[in-house]
């Protein structure tokens, strides 16, 4: 996500380094393997801070309040997970959206799990599923790119927050810098500018 990258740019600028972006499957990121093995020093992947993950990763302070959302085809009228009874609901492997759906396990809804965002989107576009759960910013971006086709059916306040990940106990100095940069960006308005750029609104206070 571009928002993460812009924030990481601030960290890189502060450190006076040039970052190399490694595009890698989510499993490797959140199981801590990518960080442990030195494949990367910092993980910026729209990753929600969760206790299980915090066991294997050091998280920065939160930099984003994420909300889960149900994406449906425009006019389909599903306003909750329960309203999809007898229908199919899609989610994405390894995401907190999937965790949310699993914890709700709405009765009579068949849950199909997709490998990545692209297949989840394709499945909804080709009517294999009637609703798809993922992070709200992901869907707002998708709706913007496909105007008139999809809409948000429901939002779920799960209270989750994104954090940058650093190797567990591996680099306290970097962690400190990242936290400082996030705090500074929030006070000097850079954070709001970046937020505006990617989401078109001001962050909720």
């Amino acid at each position: 996500m571009g928002f993460d990258m812009d924030l990481i740019d601030l960290v890189a600028k502060k450190l006076g380094v040039i970052q190399t972006v490694v595009d890698t499957p989510f499993e490797g990121i959140k199981s801590g393997q990518d960080l442990n093995t030195g494949k990367c020093d910092i993980a910026a992947a729209g990753m929600t801070i969760k206790p299980e993950r915090a066991k294997v990763i050091d998280f920065s302070v939160p930099y984003f309040n994420a909300t889960q959302a149900l994406l449906i085809k425009k006019g389909a009228g599903y306003a909750s997970l329960e309203s999809l009874k007898g229908k199919k609901l899609g989610d994405q492997s390894g995401t907190t959206g999937k965790d949310y759906v699993t914890s709700q396990h709405p009765a009579g809804v068949t849950v199909t799990e997709f490998e990545d965002l692209a297949t989840l989107q394709q499945a909804l576009a080709t009517d294999q599923i009637q609703g798809a759960v993922d992070d709200l910013p992901v869907w707002t971006d998708y709706i913007k790119k496909n105007p008139g086709k999809f809409e948000i059916g429901a939002e779920f306040q799960t209270g989750e927050q994104y954090g940058f990940g650093i190797k567990k106990g591996g680099n306290p100095a970097l962690l400190k810098t990242v936290n400082e940069v996030i705090a500074a960006a929030k006070t000097d308005g850079t954070y709001n500018t970046i937020y505006m750029k990617w989401f078109g609104t001001k962050p909720a206070a």
């Binding site: 959140k30 299980e52 849950v111 199909t112 080709t126």
Partner: protein, 281 residues
């Protein structure tokens, strides 16, 4: 000038002769070096690896225990089922393609050639994606027979292309005299093919067909791109999801070992089958 060169040359020869070992000594030296390298590499791995972390991350028994019995009764079963479906379809269709490639009717040969080249060339993942998402986009409807039809076609159609070539090679390896003898007994071309040539061809191609099943077993991991429900997960997907949930890579190791539950017995059965065939020949 010439004299020095000769002297040098003899000197060199003598030096070489002095350092030359007997053949036996040389063999022993080379063997010692091979063992030394083996031991050195082994020691390096043992000493260099971070064993506590490795065992916590990859051989964590507490994590592994949570995978059972679902990993066997759902994931392993699905992997075996998908492989079997793909193989049966691939074998039947592959036989047809092989016969088409050997046909005297030119258009049959062309169609079979194009099919084989196409499916051998494109990555399986893209073909599965096309079946799962391209077909519904194009036709506005999903393939009938969900969720198995995209799996059968997705794994089976490319497998058929590989097997067609294997079967063709097998048919061509059966001595011509066999078909000729059958024809001289009054069999038609078709009869000779079905009852004389093809059975012998299959006996020849058992080892490469086994390879094909083993490859297919592992390729079945790609069907996860079609989207899975709890009941349709195969081994790799199951392992990856468990990795996500339990935040530990041990499930990947266990899933990997489960593939061996399919492939090792298969290899053993085929080896016995081959031994029997060889005795019968």
């Amino acid at each position: 000038m010439a004299a020095t060169t000769t002297a040098d040359r003899t000197g060199g020869l003598q030096r070489r002769r002095r350092s030359r070992l007997t053949r036996r000594q040389r063999t022993r030296l080379i063997r010692t070096i091979q063992y030394a390298v083996f031991v050195a590499v082994g020691l390096l791995i043992v000493l260099k690896a971070d064993w506590p972390r490795l065992s916590h991350d990859y051989f964590n028994l507490a994590i592994a225990r949570q995978l059972f019995p679902d990993i066997l009764f759902t994931a392993l079963r699905n992997t075996a089922a998908y492989t079997a479906m793909g193989f049966v379809f691939g074998l039947g269709f592959g036989l047809l393609l092989a016969l088409m490639r050997l046909s005297v009717v030119a258009p049959y040969r062309w169609v079979a050639n194009v099919y084989i080249e196409f499916f051998r060339g494109i990555p399986l993942l893209l073909w599965l994606f096309f079946l799962g998402y391209g077909v519904p986009t194009a036709t506005g409807a999903q393939l009938p027979g969900q969720p198995y039809s995209p799996i059968v076609l997705g794994l089976g159609m490319p497998a058929a292309a590989y097997m067609a070539e294997t079967i063709r090679a097998g048919i061509q390896a059966v001595p011509k005299g066999q078909a000729e003898a059958a024809r001289s007994l009054g069999m038609s071309h078709g009869q000779a093919m079905v009852s004389i040539v093809i059975p012998q061809a299959f006996r020849i191609i058992v080892p490469p067909l086994t390879n094909e099943v083993i490859l297919l077993t592992k390729d079945s991991s790609l069907v996860a791109i079609l989207g899975v429900t709890i009941g349709t997960k195969e081994l790799t997907k199951f392992g990856r999801d468990a990795l996500n949930q339990l935040v530990n890579p041990t499930p990947l190791v266990i899933a990997g070992l489960c593939y061996l539950i399919i492939t090792v017995p298969l290899s053993l059965v085929v080896r016995r089958l081959e031994a029997r065939n060889n005795r019968a020949r």
